[in-house]
Symmetry: C2
Subunit: 126 residues, 2 copies
């Protein structure tokens, strides 16, 4: 497993994630960088960044893949235990700093919990 190469495309994507705390859907990212790089390239870069723990992935309400770099990321290995919030009005998606309490289920071994909260964000809640 070689080190991730510092290509122009990798720099662009990395810079983007450093510039925002919000999460972004891959589709939007592909659109955003459509002039700069290929769709496949984005998917592959995101895979690599996730492997490295630089960003973390999760699914939005529609089942679309989203990525974000939050302060939990790059704690050596990212364990995704925080919820995500998606605004049904403006579409904004973000990580929520809140530790999920994982319910104990008899005779089951729960390894992971994914909590997705939907509603209206501060801007859209008038």
């Amino acid at each position: 497993m070689g080190v991730i190469r510092n290509t122009k495309s990798v720099q662009l994507v990395t810079e983007f994630f450093n510039s925002t705390k919000e999460a972004i859907g891959v589709v939007d990212l592909v659109e955003k960088f459509s002039e700069q790089m290929n769709k496949s390239t984005i998917y592959r870069i995101l895979d690599r960044l996730e492997d490295e723990g630089k960003v973390h992935a999760f699914l939005g309400v529609n089942g679309l893949k989203h990525y974000a770099k939050c302060k939990d990321c790059s704690h050596t290995e990212h364990v995704d235990v925080h919820p995500h919030f998606q605004c049904t009005s403006c579409g904004k998606v973000e990580c929520v700093s809140y530790e999920i309490s994982i319910p104990k289920l008899p005779n089951k071994n729960i390894a992971q919990a994914q909590l997705l909260l939907t509603g209206t964000c501060e801007r859209c809640t008038s």
Copy 2:
């Protein structure tokens, strides 16, 4: 909005959901009934049953649509506040009877919470 018609296909799908407490992915359901009915028919029947509150829908770990009929269903209007569990070993998916505690977020209005638990089920946890 007319009443849902009692066709052969609707009966089959309904009977299936009455026969199990487990959830099932649409893809699996399409496969299961591939001899009896068309893919589109299944998708449309599930839409209707969901509208009627007879079953409820949610997304599995892979983002694939799943349906289940649990005791919460058909309480007039189904509010999906219970978590779902997906076994990473045998693939079984089921509803979990456990009320999610929805975190309050400052200035946000949270309308819904979707919690997906993954791990190993009683049978696969040796």
